[in-house]
């Protein structure tokens, strides 16, 4: 949508990311709760029982620092955890261990492309906290409303990434979210799936008339569980606020939830009910000292990030930029492609075409993930080499690839069984002559001007050679033999 002229829109995003560590943030219980029956992945610590104490999950700290490094944040040497106090039944201790004034990562930026331009969205901070239990509201057996608690999610490591209010419309917000999700996946720190809550984006939206004093009425919008919902909710909210201002009404500072079915935002909490979280340093955890050695070690562990890979594909390897864009959407596919490119003597673009078309089609058909391509990069490179040498035609190479997916047999075995392409002119000419002799009608048709007859004869040659004949050569030879036949 186009923002009505005369208004300034400012959006800041707060993104919660569940980290895919093996165990929870402060105990050894498994964090892989997604498919576990309710309340089976719990222990005294994540249940918040009396007397229990938290112990920091070092992997979660590492993942957060890696995210900060990817977002160009500063990693201060001193960080700490704090208690954020609020009373809600999904919060086992009635306080959440979070980070208040000394987060793990400070500052940074993420470059996005939206509305045809490239912009840097500034990052305020990245900090680490724990997720809450999950409440489900149901109607009980007695017909009364009831709430069910699943504590499996309680204590799952949760990273929060906060932006400066640098975003001005829904498209930019979506571009930011998509780019961030991709980086998180490349880093391997989160599944970053929005639909199962591993990635949750909340937005603070402020609108005010240009020329008026800078608006300070922030409306927080929550509950968007897809990128589509994020875009719709922001469009709706911007329009709603402008509508209110147009009618001369005042905006209220509040929290609103996106209602997917009604396609609108609904007020959940107004300022009068704003929490005083009474933050104070978590006395159960010593302050975090982040050594420079640790940061260096994590820097070395960082994979090449999508932007860098894209740049390399386009600028050094001559891959079309649309193809590069497609590839970096999928970390595993991109890594595979780069691996094949490195082993392939021919142009990188050739590899990219094969991967984006044939490999991806076969993956989709078999519902395989890109991480589970059944053909090693070495075999793939070998296949492309056979194709380049003319030992396999494109069609044959495609068939071999398909068979490798289906049978997982080694390339050599399949090629040996199927045979290589026949490009030998004498052998093919001999077969062409035999086919012509066996099909006088087709030859006559050709001479009568029906060019299509060549196709028929060609098909017969391919049949005799079980598809191994080099099609270009066969066409060439057939035409030569046919004109000689006419001359005879």
């Amino acid at each position: 949508m186009t923002v009505e002229a005369g208004y300034r829109v400012v959006i800041g995003l707060e993104t919660h990311v569940q980290l895919n560590t093996a165990s929870k943030m402060f105990c050894r219980t498994s964090a892989a709760y997604a498919s576990a029956p309710p309340n089976t992945l719990v222990c005294p610590v994540c249940l918040g029982m009396p007397g229990v104490l938290p112990v920091i999950n070092a992997a979660a700290v590492d993942f957060t620092i890696m995210t900060g490094l990817a977002l160009h944040s500063e990693i201060p040497p001193h960080a700490k955890f704090d208690r954020k106090n609020y009373a809600y039944p999904d919060l086992m201790k009635w306080y959440q261990i979070s980070q208040y004034d000394l987060p793990l990562c400070v500052g940074g930026w993420l470059e996005i492309a939206a509305n045809g331009e490239t912009r840097r969205i500034r990052i305020t901070r990245v900090h680490l906290e724990e997720d809450t239990a999950k409440l489900t509201h149901v109607v009980g057996d007695d017909g009364q409303p009831a709430s069910l608690i699943d504590v499996n999610r309680s204590g799952v490591p949760l990273m929060e990434i906060v932006t400066e209010p640098d975003i001005t419309n829904a498209e930019e917000a979506m571009a930011y979210g998509l780019k961030l999700r991709n980086i998180l996946r490349w880093l391997g720190v989160s599944t970053a799936n929005m639909q199962d809550g591993a990635l949750r984006i909340d937005a603070n939206v402020s609108v005010w008339p240009i020329g008026a004093e800078v608006g300070n009425t922030k409306v927080e919008v929550k509950n968007m569980n897809s990128f589509r919902a994020l875009g719709q909710a922001l469009d709706y909210e911007i329009e709603r606020q402008i509508g209110l201002l147009e009618r001369g009404e005042r905006l209220e500072q509040e929290t609103r939830g996106w209602d997917e079915s009604d396609a609108r935002t609904v007020s959940q909490r107004t300022k009068e009910y704003a929490h005083d979280y009474r933050y104070f340093p978590e006395p159960d955890l010593p302050p975090l000292e982040i050594t420079r050695e640790r940061v260096q070690r994590l820097t070395k562990r960082m994979p090449e990030l999508p932007d860098a890979v894209r740049q390399r594909l386009v600028e050094e390897l001559g891959v079309a930029s649309a193809d590069a864009d497609e590839l970096i959407e999928d970390r595993d596919l991109a890594a595979y492609t780069l691996d094949v490119i490195e082993r392939h003597a021919g142009p990188a673009a050739e590899v990219v075409t094969w991967v984006l078309q044939d490999v991806r089609r076969l993956l989709n058909a078999r519902e395989l993930k890109s991480a589970d391509i059944p053909i090693s990069a070495a075999s793939m490179a070998e296949l492309l080499a056979l194709r380049a040498k003319g030992d396999l035609s494109s069609t044959m190479a495609g068939t071999v690839l398909e068979e490798m997916f289906a049978t997982r047999k080694p390339l050599e075995e399949i090629v040996a069984a199927r045979g290589r392409q026949i490009s030998d002119s004498d052998a093919l000419a001999e077969i062409a002559r035999e086919v012509m002799a066996a099909n006088p009608q087709a030859v006559a048709d050709y001479h009568a001007g029906k060019d299509r007859a060549v196709q028929f004869l060609m098909g017969q040659v391919m049949r005799r050679t079980r598809g191994q004949a080099n099609p270009g050569k066969v066409t060439e030879l057939l035409r030569a033999e046919l004109s000689r036949d006419r001359g005879a």
Partner: protein, 489 residues
């Protein structure tokens, strides 16, 4: 050696068990009989686990028959009800935790079990360890075995009374601002608060996390050394526990304090200190001096701020620590409530006692937006100053000697109407707590038939030195005329 086994110290009983003179079952029966005889008068226990104790005693005897040994093998001990015990109700003397049975042992409890100790029961206390008289128990008060009209001190009043009245051979308590040392002083037993971090807090129900420490209450300094060695040491479940190795404290007690420098600060002998108490403590210091220690005057100028600092920091932490008791998961609940908000409100209104509510409100206020800097942050800064006082003092002395409590045991009901008067009972124990230092209270005589405690304070992790001085004093302490405990009457 059959009737009065309950009177033995841990060391004496250990020798008798090792020599095969008695069995742990004999010893445990004797203690259980003693509890039957006197606990109605002291109120020291909230729960006696007689059957489990006898089973543990049998197991200990079997272990010994199998060649096992150890200073705590088969020794009957009591556990303050603030420590989680697997399968055994743990209430913190609060109605809000009524019916709560932890599915795990506190690390210290697990370590005692591993050492073969027999756990006789859970001792009474001030609710959530908040109090100095044990009158804040949500169940019943504890009476001082020396005078049943007096308080035993708190919050580990049940553990202190149980040790003093021989209802166990030794006990564990917890000390946040003096909750082991002050009742030990008032009941005439030894009470040790280790360095913050020396003993794991895992399974210790939190009152004020930056101050809480588990410590032993015993009949002798030697026994305190044995219990400390058994419970101390790094615990991967407690991020604040210290990695330092744990020496064999008891083996180092040789009575030699020659050349040790003992600091005496005027701030611990000023206004509000009972003259009889001061005089008993001065005598004790004199005895140390006569035996080769050097007495040095020191000053701890920020001592007077310890009380206000403590009553900002401890309630602040408590306000968060006690938030989880809302009736949703365990303990008291309200099935009649119309919704979850009402249930949580009702449970907290009914389940917490007045002192606990007062401290939750104090802490909530101190942490509130707009007040945090003036209260919590300021208190943390002054806490640092108090710590620096001690750092400076320990540049010139090895230990500091002082009274443990300003007075002897006071009347039951005597201070309940005046919270501030009650808070002042801890004025001499709070500074070492705020500084995280190890400190011990050792009996040093009587005033009007009531025990007095000598408090010794050492630098961080110097429990060995602390125990050495306390043990040396215990050896040279003049024999007092045998006083008869009221509980015996």
């Amino acid at each position: 050696m059959t009737d009065d086994l309950f009177r033995l110290t841990v060391a004496e009983a250990g020798d008798a068990l090792a020599a095969g003179d008695i069995s742990s079952v004999d010893l445990t029966r004797s203690v259980l009989d003693r509890i039957d005889a006197v606990d109605a008068r002291t109120g020291a226990y909230l729960l006696v686990t007689a059957d489990a104790a006898l089973a543990q005693a049998e197991a200990a005897d079997d272990r010994r028959a199998g060649g096992d040994a150890g200073p705590l093998l088969g020794i009957p001990l009591a556990i303050k009800d603030v420590l989680c015990t697997d399968g055994v109700a743990t209430t913190c003397a609060s109605r809000i935790l009524e019916g709560f049975v932890p599915p795990f042992d506190a690390t210290v409890v697990a370590r005692l079990k591993d050492a073969g100790a027999v756990l006789v029961g859970k001792t009474n206390m001030d609710e959530f360890a908040m109090g100095s008289s044990n009158e804040n128990s949500g169940y019943h008060p504890v009476r001082n075995p020396w005078d049943l009209s007096k308080v035993p001190g708190g919050s580990s009043g049940g553990s202190a009374a149980a040790v003093a009245a021989d209802e166990c051979l030794a006990a564990l308590g917890s000390d946040t601002g003096g909750s082991v040392r002050q009742p030990a002083a008032l009941c005439g037993c030894v009470g040790l608060k280790p360095t913050y971090g020396r003993v794991s807090r895992y399974g210790l129900v939190a009152f004020a996390s930056s101050l809480d420490q588990v410590g032993p209450l015993t009949k002798s300094v030697h026994d305190a050394a044995v219990l400390l060695a058994a419970t101390a040491g790094h615990d991967p479940r407690d991020a604040t526990s210290l990695p330092e190795p744990v020496p064999n404290f008891a083996a180092e007690l040789d009575g030699n304090v020659e050349g040790l420098r003992v600091g005496v600060a005027p701030e611990y002998f000023g206004e509000g200190i009972d003259a009889g108490v001061a005089s008993a403590v001065e005598d004790a210091i004199g005895a140390l001096e006569a035996n080769g220690t050097e007495i040095r005057a020191i000053t701890l100028p920020h001592t007077e701020y310890a009380l206000p600092v403590y009553y900002v920091i401890a309630p602040s932490e408590a306000s968060a620590n006690l938030a989880r008791y809302n009736g949703v998961k365990y303990g008291l609940s309200d099935p009649q409530a119309v919704d979850v908000d009402e249930m949580m409100a009702t449970v907290r209104a009914q389940g917490f006692g007045a002192e606990v509510k007062r401290r939750i409100m104090l802490g909530t206020f101190a942490l509130s937006s707009g007040y945090y800097d003036a209260y919590y942050l300021r208190a943390q800064k002054v806490r640092t100053l108090i710590k620096q006082d001690f750092d400076t003092a320990f540049e010139s002395v090895d230990v500091i000697a002082a009274p443990t409590s300003p007075t002897t045991a006071f009347d039951l009901g005597g201070r309940t109407a005046d919270p501030l008067a009650m808070y002042r009972a801890d004025v001499l124990t709070l500074p070492a707590s705020l500084a995280g230092l190890p400190a011990i209270s050792v009996p040093c005589g009587f005033v009007d038939g009531l025990p007095v405690g000598l408090q010794l304070i050492a630098p961080p992790l110097h429990e060995a030195r602390l125990l050495r001085v306390a043990d040396a004093y215990e050896r040279l302490r003049p024999e007092t005329p045998a006083l008869r405990q009221a509980v015996e009457a």
